[in-house]
C-alpha cells in the first residue's frame, strides 16, 4: 500500500464528483445523482481497502512513524514578516486506530445519505454539489494531522452544511441554518485562537536543522518542542494552557453537542432534510469528540487528567438531561435529536475514564451512534415522506400497515436502547466498565446508569405511540418500504447486528492506538489523586 495516496483519494473523490456534477448540464438530474452515488460508493470501497490493509499493531497518536497511509507534502510556504518568520505548512494526512473507524463511518454514512437524497428534487445539481463538498470536508477532518489543515476542513464543512439546511430545509430552515452556522462558528473562533497560540509556542526541527513554528500535531504533542516564551508553552510559567484547553474544549463541545451548548442541534435536525440529518447525526457530531481525542488529549495531557471529573460530569448531564428532554418531545425527529444528545454523553463519559476499555468504548460508541442514529433519522424520514408530519401523537397502529418498516424500526430502537446482541450495548457496556474502574468518576458513572432506564422509556413509549394500537384511518394508504429504502436500512442493520455479536474486529482496529493514547497521557501527566464530589 505504500505510496498509494489512499487518504487523499478518500478525501478528494467527492470533490472530483462535485466538479463533475457542476459540469453536467441542467436537467441531467439522474446523472447528477449517479455521479454522487459512484463517488460515495468509491469512497466506501476505498475505506474498506484501507481497513483491510490496516496494520493493527501500529499505535499512531503521537508518533508519525506508526501512522499509516501517511502523506506529507509541502503545501504553504510564505514569508510572514520578521517576527513570524517563514510560515511552513505541510499537507499531512494519516490514519490510526482513532481515525480509521471514523473514516469508515464517514464513507458508509455518506453513501447511505446519497441514497436517502434520491428524493431531493429541488435544484438537484446544487444540492449534490454541496453534499459532495461536505463529504470531502468531513473526510478531511478525520485524516488531517496538521492543525491548520484540520481547521481548513473544519471550516469547509460549515458552508455546505449551512446551505443544505438553509435551502433544502423545513419551514424554519433559515433560523435553524443561521443558528447552526453562528454557533459552530463561535466554536471555530475559540479553536482558531488556540491554534494560533499553539503555533507560536512550539517549534519543529526541520531536516535542514533550522527551527520553525509548526501546526503539526506530532510536534505540538512533544513537550520538548515548546519554547519558553509562547503563551501556550508549558515551559512558560505564565502560560495560558488551561484557558486554551477550555476554549478548545468549548469549540469541540459545541459540535458534540455538549450541554449547555446543544440547543442548535434539535433545531438543525428538525429543519434539515433527512439525508442531512443523517450526516449531521452520523458524522458531524463525532467531530467534537474526535477533536478532543485527537487534539485536546495528547496536546494537553496534564490538564486533561485534572479535568476528567468535569468531563465525566458533563457526560452524565448529557446522558440524563438529554434523555429527560427526549421523553417530553412530541415531534419524532426532535425526540431522536435529543436522544443523540443523550447518547453522545456516553462518549464523553468513556473518554473521561482515560482507560483503555473506556476510550475504546467511547470511540466504539461514536461509531455505533453514527450507524444507529443514522438509521433512526432515516426512519423518521420514511414516515415523514409518506405522512408529511412527525407528530408522535398523530400516529398509532403503523405496525400492521407497514410491517417491514416496523421490523427495522424495532431493531434500530432496541439498538438505541442498548439491547445486547446489537452494537450499542457493547460500546455502552465498555464505557461503563471503563468509567466505573476510575475511582474519581465512579459516583458520576453510577448516576449515569440511570440513562439506560430513561433511554428505554422514551424509545419504547415512542414505539408504542407510533406503531401499536389501532391504525388511524388517515394512514390507511401508507405504503411499506420500497427497494431504495431497503438498500439504506439493510447495510446499517447488518453492521449493527454484526458488531453487536462480534465486536472484536472493531476493538482490534482501535485498541493499539487507544492503548498508546492512554499510555501517552499517563506518561505525560502527573497522576493526581482526584476525589469527585
Amino acid at each position: 500500500m505504500s505510496g498509494f495516496p489512499i487518504l487523499s483519494l478518500l478525501t478528494f473523490i467527492p470533490l472530483i464528483g462535485m466538479i463533475v456534477v457542476l459540469l453536467l448540464k441542467k436537467g441531467q438530474e439522474k446523472e447528477v445523482k449517479y455521479v454522487s452515488l459512484i463517488a460515495t460508493g468509491l469512497q466506501v470501497i476505498l475505506a474498506i481497502i484501507l481497513i483491510a490493509n490496516f496494520d493493527f499493531t501500529k499505535g499512531g497518536i503521537f508518533d508519525p512513524n506508526t501512522f499509516q497511509f501517511l502523506e506529507n507534502y509541502k503545501w504553504i510556504e510564505i514569508f510572514g514578516g520578521s517576527w513570524i518568520g517563514t510560515i511552513k505548512i505541510n499537507y499531512i494526512v494519516g490514519a490510526d486506530g482513532i481515525s480509521a473507524p471514523m473514516i469508515l463511518l464517514t464513507a458508509i454514512i455518506s453513501f447511505i445519505a446519497t441514497l436517502s437524497s434520491w428524493t431531493i428534487n429541488k435544484s438537484v445539481k446544487g444540492y449534490f454539489a454541496l453534499f459532495l463538498l461536505l463529504d470531502t470536508a468531513m473526510m478531511g477532518v478525520f485524516v488531517s494531522l496538521n492543525f491548520f489543515l484540520f481547521y481548513v476542513f473544519w471550516e469547509l464543512m460549515l458552508l455546505p452544511m449551512y446551505f443544505l439546511i438553509g435551502i433544502w430545509g423545513g419551514p424554519r430552515k433559515e433560523y435553524a441554518a443561521i443558528k447552526f452556522f453562528i454557533y459552530t462558528l463561535v466554536g471555530s473562533v475559540f479553536m482558531l485562537l488556540v491554534m494560533i497560540g499553539l503555533y507560536f509556542s512550539a517549534t519543529q526541527t526541520l531536516p535542514d536543522g533550522s527551527h520553525a513554528f509548526t501546526f503539526n500535531f506530532f510536534a505540538l504533542m512533544n513537550q520538548s518542542n515548546y519554547n519558553t516564551t509562547g503563551i501556550l508553552s508549558p515551559l512558560n510559567p505564565h502560560n495560558l494552557r488551561f484557558i486554551a484547553y477550555i476554549f478548545l474544549f468549548i469549540g469541540f463541545a459545541i459540535k458534540i453537542p455538549m450541554f449547555p451548548f446543544h440547543t442548535w442541534l434539535p433545531d438543525a435536525h428538525v429543519e434539515a432534510p433527512t439525508p442531512i440529518s443523517v450526516i449531521l447525526a452520523g458524522v458531524l457530531l463525532k467531530m467534537g469528540t474526535y477533536g478532543i481525542l485527537r487534539i485536546s488529549y495528547p496536546i494537553f495531557p496534564q490538564i486533561t487528567r485534572e479535568l476528567i471529573w468535569y468531563i465525566a460530569l458533563f457526560g452524565m448531564i448529557n446522558m440524563i438531561y438529554g434523555a429527560f428532554v427526549a421523553l417530553a418531545q412530541k415531534d419524532f425527529k426532535k425526540l431522536i435529536a435529543y436522544s443523540s444528545v443523550s447518547h453522545m454523553g456516553y462518549v464523553l463519559l468513556g473518554m473521561a475514564s482515560l482507560t483503555t476499555i473506556g476510550i475504546n468504548g467511547a470511540i466504539f460508541q461514536m461509531f455505533n451512534h453514527g450507524t444507529i442514529t443514522a438509521m433512526l433519522f432515516l426512519i423518521v424520514g420514511v414516515v415523514y415522506d409518506r405522512a408529511h408530519t412527525r407528530g408522535i401523537y398523530e400516529f398509532g397502529g403503523l405496525a400492521n400497515q407497514m410491517p417491514v418498516y416496523t421490523g427495522f424500526v424495532t431493531v434500530a430502537f432496541f439498538a438505541a436502547i442498548g439491547l445486547p446482541s446489537l452494537s450499542g450495548f457493547v460500546s455502552e457496556a465498555l464505557v461503563f466498565l471503563g468509567a466505573f474502574s476510575v475511582e474519581a468518576i465512579r459516583t458520576v458513572t453510577i448516576i449515569s446508569t440511570l440513562a439506560i432506564l430513561l433511554g428505554a422509556a422514551y424509545m419504547l413509549w415512542t414505539l408504542q405511540r407510533i406503531f401499536f394500537g389501532e391504525l388511524n384511518e388517515k394512514w390507511k394508504s401508507l405504503p411499506d418500504l420500497n427497494g431504495r429504502e431497503y438498500a439504506m436500512f439493510i447495510p446499517l442493520m447488518l453492521i449493527i447486528i454484526f458488531l453487536g455479536i462480534y465486536p472484536s474486529p472493531m476493538i482490534h482496529l482501535m485498541n493499539t492506538s487507544v492503548t498508546s493514547l492512554v499510555n501517552f497521557i499517563s506518561a505525560n501527566s502527573v497522576n493526581l489523586t482526584m476525589s469527585g464530589f
Binding site: Y321, F425, P503, S504
Partner: protein, 696 residues
Amino acid sequence: MFDQTIVTLSISSLLLPVFGFALIVLFNKRFPQIYKLGIGILLFGLASAITIMVIKFTQYLHNDIIFRFTWIDFGNIPGIGKTQIVLGVKIDNIATIMLFVVNLISSLVHIYSLEYMKGDSRFNRYYAYLGIFTFSMIGIVIADNLLMMYIFWELVGLSSYLLIGFWYEKKSASDAGKKAFLTNRVGDIGMLIGILILYTNYHTFTFDQIFHEISLGHIPFGSSGWLTATGILVFLGAVGKSAQFPLHVWLPDAMEGPTPVSALIHSATMVAAGVYLSLRIFPILTADAMLFIAVIGGFTSFLAASIALTQNDIKRVLAYSTVSQLGYMVMSVGVGAYTFAFFHLVTHAFFKSNLFLGSGSVIHAMHHEQDIRNMGGLRKKMPVTYTTFVISSLALSGIPLFSGFLSKDGILAGSLAFAHLTGHWLLPTFGFLVAMMTAFYMFRLIIIAFHGKPRNQEKYDHAHETPLVMTIPLIVLATLSLFFWFSPNPVSPESGWFLSKWVHTPQQVIPNESRYHFMINDNTVEQENAENSAPVMNSEEYEHAMHWAHIPTLTMSITLAGLGVLLAFLLYQWRVFDPDKWAEKLKPLYLFSLNKWYVDEFYAATFIGGTIGLSKLLSLFDKYVVDGIVNGTAFVTRGLSNISGVFDKYVVDGAVNGTAFLSGLLGLGFRKLQTGKIQTYIVLVVFSILILLLLI
C-alpha cells in the same frame, strides 16, 4: 470424551432457536407453514436436553463441563495486564436440570399453542418469538459468567416484551409490555452496577474466577460492606426478573400476553431466572445480603398471596400466586436453603405452567372469558382440564403426595431453621401464613370456576373440552406434579435422587466473618467432590437445625394447607359462611387486597408522574432558559451590530469615503440585516469574529 457432546448439544440447542427466529421472521409470508420449523427445533432441543441429562448424571455427576472463548481482547493494558472479555458456558447439575425444564415446557407450549393460537394473524411470528425466548432463556441457564448472563437477561426481557405485547392493537397489552421491560430495567441497573464492581475488582466476569479471587480473601475494594452491596446489587436484577417487591408490579400485567406465554415465560422459566441468578451468586452472599434477600422474598410471598385471595381474573390469581411462590424461592436462597430453592423452582415450573395451560384451556373453551365469576360448573364439561388443574393445585397448595409438598416443606423448614439459628421469626411466620393462603385461594378458584352451577349459561353451553394437542401437555405436566419423580418417600425430599445426588449447596467463598456462623464449613467432614465441581457446604450446625425443623414444619404445613382448603370449601362450596358478607365485614382489608395494596397507584403518582413531570420541566427549561440564553445573545448581538451599523454608515462611512470597498460591503450587509439573505449573515459573522478577536 462425552464432554464435547454436551458442549455441542447445549450450544446447538442454544443457537438453533435463534436461527429459527430469523428464518421465520424473514420468510413467514412466503412460507405460511414455517412455524413448523420452530416446533422441530424445540423438539431437537428437548432431545438434546435429555441426552445431556443422561450423559451428565451418568458420566460427570461431580464434574462441570466448561467451554470458554475470548469475545473481546484488549491485549496488554499497562497496570492491569492481559485484559480480555471471556464468555463461556458451564453445564453443571442445576444447569442440566434447567435445560431439561426449559426445553420440556417450551416444547409443550409450542404444541399447545398450535390450537390455542390457531387463526391468529401473526401465528408464525408467535412461533418466532417463542424461539427467541427459548434461545435467551437457555443462554441464561448455561452462562458461566455474569456478562453473558446479563446479555441473555436483557434478551429474555426483549422476548417477554414482544410476547406480552403480542396483541399490540390493545393498548393494555402494549402498556403491559412496556411496563415489564422498564420495571425490569430498574432492577437491571442494580445488577449492572454489581457486575461493574466485580469486574473492576477482578477483571473477569466468570463466576468461578470471581469466586476463586474472593476465596483468596480479595473482597471488592477491600471492604466487607462493598461485598454485601455487590451481592444485593446483583440480586436487584433478580428482584426485577423474578417480580419481587418492590418491582413485582409488572408480572400481573404481563398476563395481557397469550396464555401459553404466561405458562412458559411468566410462571415457569423466565421469572425463575431471578432465583437462578441468586443461586449462581450464592457463594458470595454475605450474612447481611442473605438476610436482605430473605426478607424481600418472605415479604413478597406474603404480599402477593394476600392479593391473590380476592382477585377474580383467573390469570391474575395465578400471576399473584407465581409472585408469591417466587418469593418463597427467593426467601429460600436467603435463609440458606439453596437446594430447596432450586427444587421448588423445578416443581413449581411444572405445576404452575400446568395451571396456566389449564386456565388457557378454560379461557379457550369459554371464548376468552377470564373472569371466574362468569364461570362455574366447568368440571363436567372439561374433565381432563379439571383433573389436571386440581392435581397441580394440590401440588401448589403443598398437599402430601404431590411434588409441591416436598419442595415447599423444605423451604418452610429452611426458614424455621434459619429463625431458630438467627432469631428472625418473621420469615417462617410469613412462610406458614402464605402456605395457608395459597391453599385457600387455589381452592377458591377451583370451586368458583369448576364447581357449582354455571353462572353464564350461554358461555357454558358453548364450552367443551379442548382437543388433544392442548390436553396432552396438561396431562404430561400434571403427571410431573406427583411426588415420585422427585423422591420415593412422599414426605421426605432428602431421600430422593434430586437432593441426595444432583443438587448440593455450594460452599460459600466469602471470608468467615462475613458469613452466618452456620454457613461456615465443618472441618471434620471430608470433601468427597471431584475438582471440577464447586465444593459442597458442610455445616453440621445447619444440618442439625434443619433436622430440628423437619417435624414441626411437616405437621404445621399439612395442618395449615388443610385449613386453607377447608376454609375455601366452607366459604364457596358449602356456603357455611357467605363470602360476600365477610368481604363487607372486612371491607378495608378486602379493598386493600383487591386493589393490590395500591402499589400501582403509588408508583403512578410518584415515580412515573415524577419522571414525566421532570421531563416536561426540563424540556421547558431547555426551550426557554438554555435556548433562551442563546437566542437572547443573538438578539443582543444583532442589536449591537445594528447600532454599529448605523454608526458605521453615518460616521465611519461618512468620514472615510475612500475605503469604498469595505464600507460598501458592510453597508449592504447591515441594511438587509433581517432579510434572511445569507451574505448578510456571513458578513455579520465575519464582523463579529473581528470584534471578538479584538476583544480577546
